[in-house]
Symmetry: C2
Amino acid sequence: MKARVTVTLKNGILDPQGKAIEGALKSLGVDGIASVRQGKVFDIEVAGADKAKAEAALKEAADKLLANTVIENYRVEIV
Amino acid sequence: MKARVTVTLKNGILDPQGKAIEGALKSLGVDGIASVRQGKVFDIEVAGADKAKAEAALKEAADKLLANTVIENYRVEIV
């Protein structure tokens, strides 16, 4: 079963990487970009066909390793 | 206008970071994860309300800066 975990910074958390990208896009002459925030995406292949079990494993993975839940939100999707 | 650009490695491109995550999840006792591939996600606020113009700017940004199109695919979504 394929799944995707998307990890993004919480609102209010500064994102210097996003700011750097904004600056770089301006330097490159790409117009019309107001703001950028960068996150991470994990494409995960889950063993087995039990959807509830897969979601539980993915949440455990996100809580333990993929996201820092102090400053990041995550979203689990089975695709 | 809000948009999301998702950048993922092309099939066949090795992902050592994903492999490291697989190993770490096994060490942490998270079962049922067969494979992991990591990508990037950019949450972008586009100035103006013209959807076609926004998509063009986002594609330009992805081609020029956000993705290395030799080894990565990207997808632009207006959300």
